[in-house]
Symmetry: D2
Subunit: 359 residues, 4 copies
């Protein structure tokens, strides 16, 4: 079950230390302009090794389009994207071969499948998210045509929260910080965790603009349900909020209701979604990432033979996965909205008549 999306769908493959990772993006309408450089640019955003706030591991991550694009334009055929893994050395992982790293997926994959590719987490590695970002780039090219924009950035590192959301600033920040005034403290929190051989959690804010009203497939592929699935499924995410989110449960109806006037919604507590369908207002999402479980402090765990063992992690790891995770979350939201745009195309006879009726 490595497929995501119903009409605009992505099937991913690949392990951290296998030959390659990649995906097949299916259902892309013909006529979308797609070039490798655009996709490459998106992938580069989540590339490790760029700053001291991310892992120092080097991955060149060069994406290739294998199919589905002809003379620069999508043909309607599936688009296969592949990134070959350059560094397949897995020596680092010999010492963890038979033990379960705490709070990683080692234990659960072993329980599920009986075997596991222990090299760098294998399939459960966050490396797979490069394929999501690549696919998301294609979704973005589609959304662009309808002026739909997906913006994102770091809302909080640990307890240090943005007071202001500046998505333009976030693009230039080394940690994609939304609030310049909090950025320094947020960076410090990351570096302090790193110095302590520890890691730290964080929260990502995503805003989708210009999403037309009417997207979302009730009752079981609602826009909010699909976004929740897409985001909760990212490595390390433990909570998803829409609009007022957790806070909505603390409010009264008179506080949380979005009244309307003739111009539309006066407020947007709903975060752009009512009854699982987009209202046309901004879609506001918060995604909470746990601290990466890869810390350098000694930990206690179990091995495959049910023995207790002490263990210290080696290698290079992100001290705060929320930072690069924000790029992945952005991609997942792009994919969901592209899918919903396509699914909604046949919602009404009026739409169908526009397509099939001859003038």
């Amino acid at each position: 079950m490595n497929r995501f999306g119903l009409k605009f769908s992505v099937t991913t493959f690949g392990e951290s230390h296998g030959k390659a990772i990649g995906c097949i993006v299916d259902g892309v309408p013909s006529g979308v302009e797609i070039d490798e450089s655009y996709i490459q640019n998106e992938i580069d955003k989540r590339k490790p090794g760029l700053t001291k706030f991310a892992t120092q591991r080097k991955e060149s991550d060069t994406v290739q389009i294998l199919s589905g694009v002809f003379e620069g334009v999508s043909t309607g055929a599936p688009i296969a994207l592949v990134i070959f893994n350059e560094n397949q050395k897995s020596n680092d992982y010999e010492n963890i071969k038979s033990l379960f790293r705490p709070s990683h997926a080692d234990f659960t994959y072993f329980k599920k499948y009986g075997v596991r590719d222990y090299r760098g987490g294998g399939r459960s590695s966050a490396r797979e998210t490069a394929a999501r970002v690549a696919a998301g780039a294609i979704a973005k090219k589609l959304l662009e045509k309808f002026n739909i924009k997906i913006k994102s950035g770091i809302f909080a590192i640990g307890c240090i929260e943005a007071k202001n959301l500046d998505f333009e600033y976030a693009k230039t920040s080394e940690i994609f910080a939304l609030d310049k005034l909090q950025e320094t403290a947020q960076k410090e929190a990351i570096l302090r965790a790193k110095e302590d051989k520890d890691s730290i959690g964080g929260c990502v804010f995503i805003k989708a603009l210009n999403v037309p009203a009417g997207l979302g497939e009730p009752l079981y592929n609602k826009l909010d349900a699909s976004l929740a699935s897409a985001l909760m499924g990212i490595n390390g995410v433990k909570a998803v909020e829409i609009g007022e989110g957790v806070n909505a449960s603390k409010l009264r109806g008179s506080q949380n209701n979005d009244q309307m006037d003739k111009n539309g919604f006066v407020t947007n507590h709903a975060g752009g979604i009512l009854g699982g369908i987009s209202t046309g207002a901004d879609i506001d999402l918060k995604v909470h990432f746990k601290p990466t479980p890869s810390i350098f402090l000694e930990q206690q765990t179990q091995n495959e033979h049910n023995e207790s063992v002490k263990f210290s992690m080696k290698g290079r790891h992100d001290p705060c996965i929320a930072v690069r995770g924000s790029i992945v979350a952005n991609a997942m939201v792009s994919l969901v909205i592209a899918d919903m745009l396509l699914l909604n195309a046949s919602a009404t006879m009026k739409n169908l008549k526009k397509i099939y009726e001859k003038n």
Copy 2:
């Protein structure tokens, strides 16, 4: 897209004031003992009109099994469940026929479909959730055989939170309160909102016990992603948390990691899921419901002709949808876990050999 689940799937139908609501539960293995009285009992839990904390609307909600069960046992055929609507009077809704109730789905359904069944919200009514609860009852009968239990209750009403989780107590509480010591204050918060012609939000806690390790279909039908989708898709839900949830984003790795010893996990910050797969530990979930938008204070809204209008709601409505919502959330979790149990059956050759090899 009114279907939920991949193998153990539910397709629901019905509107608030239509002839009937119901569902088809497909993929139920043969050999599950199913009787109407058990399903009825589950449905009765979410029935309105029972206490002053819920709407006083009377619905007898009698469920019928139309197919798929023979001599008290599932046959492997689809199980159709139907609840006929007794009270189809829709006079109450004449006055809202052409306007959009604030923070309801009226506006978005109209934008999506161009037409809408305005009677009581039509398809977007919470009444549809009775079908989910009925389907969930069948899932529970399946889970019971493997000693899997799904427990739930009210964690918070507004800002008043439980300090203690007593799932047995919750069963007997009029508001399904998990903490007897907070129950009075929580009830008062609801009644005060009601007196003020207002409503209030709330938070539901769900705990799944004895879920075997290994459930969840990486990478895009992860257990956590599917739970998030199932729960965020319930009417009025705006946030979903797993394990530490939002709090995980505030912690360091050393605080959030679940170390292991030879007996298994020492802690359970993960809430029973790692890498999207169950660990065997309790699955802990929090679901945040907004206050119902149905309040009796005068509100301002828009009508179908883009005019601003004042408006006051009539009829009977739950002052706190989280209370009855907890039963729905419990059902949705049951459905997800039943589905994952079935999906996982073919995860390994070892499993397949158990099934197909002749001794």
Copy 3:
């Protein structure tokens, strides 16, 4: 897996002698005019007991719309259809309770599920096809708007084949015969089989007119593949042909190729489908039904205890299932084409722009 179709989908339920049969039709665009009488009229076509060429069993088969239609128009919500079984007497089946009727599905259902509803075949009964016809009626209402017509009739009974296809005549024929000149001989073949306590096979021809070019989802939901699945899945069907069908394997390319001139295809050996996509020409299909296995001659079979037993069938059965099967086949083709019409809506950016671009 009781669902058919991807976007315009049908989920059916019900057993021959259970409380009811029916279906949920999901994905119907809003704005289709639907009334019970139209659906009833379609169902009546396959109703038994009308002529001596069909079983004399009486079924009133009254369909009810339970949801999804408001003020005579589809709302975009799922449409549930139900037909309550009036005659649930199952005494006739006591004698076959523990044995497997030859060439029926009794044996395979028992092998698959370990239990079976032996009354009249339970779920495997052709009675379920009434739900398909009901769903097909809704598809037809959609197709009508685009002037797409699905015509059908009896091509052959046993070896007696039509030489001429008169779909208008077929509508009035008791056996839906396409060729008036062969009708008498075809009727006689049925009656002779009946007199001999035997049954006879037959072939149905279906022609879909005015299907726009471009329908079909390559490469794995091709129009021809989906039609083959839909038709082969009808009770008793053992072969499906498209265009030249079996004969194509006997021809040379120069004979089978459809050359084109500026007005389009000069011939239609392809039967309206190339590369799995509709060409705009007529879609021509042949569906071959086996003789019903319900014959009154003594037969030898096995019972649930692996013993050989002699056995004679009782009750009333169609001597030729192709006759009523033609109505079912027509419905299935209608469903496939409606689904493909919806799926194709998002095939191109050009289509999407028609829908989403504001003027």
Copy 4:
């Protein structure tokens, strides 16, 4: 919609003259031994250029496993397979760039997508079937463990039919002929068509042995329906028959029924499937391929500007696509049966208990 299969699923990509073709095989249980050489061997069977009965085009077709296999064993992760296209020269196709080759998919792809990759048919090329064969090889490795065998060969070339089915002989025949006595005449028919600048149709017979009783998901993923879809979806297939097939429509029930004794079925007119579920008897299938539309005689067609044009095909083409098509058909049947084996794993509580109950 480039995915096939529900649980054991294959998503393919690639065009005839693009960078690569390949697929992602998802749902493969962990613990299947898989090596590239086995897959390569299967692919080589359909490789062109081997005999004078196939196209002389040279394709080395080297398959690579990119993921999902670790230390020679499947891990449960998706298995990506890729074959890079060595010969991407598309000069041969400049002259057909703007015209529609008769009875090819050029016209329909253009009508559907508005653009097309004209090089060698692009996505609609039979070259894509190499990916099916590669995926089928993995299915075969799974089926082997349960002693399930899928055998196939050429039944007829044009009107020259096998009188005897020798699947062992077929393996060694240059045209996979099932009947040595007919082989010479069949070969001659192919060569004569080739000499005449023409092509010829053919029929493939497939037999699946040792398929356990109980496979197939009623009512809409029946084994026969899924096989029909899988086979009709292969390039050039125009008819599919199961068991008696077309002939069943000509028989009486007393001739077509398979009576049983205590040892099982006495005959197998059903071709191993009743009610859409396997009986345990051999599954017998016939697949009818049209003559390849690529002939060297002058033909008349239309171009993209709706003009009539004369046209002669160049390049190298199979005179009879049934020959290599038989390998593809075999692969598709393997994939369907593997999928059904997995889907059936959760059909009964008895199966689930075997998996989840602790001893």
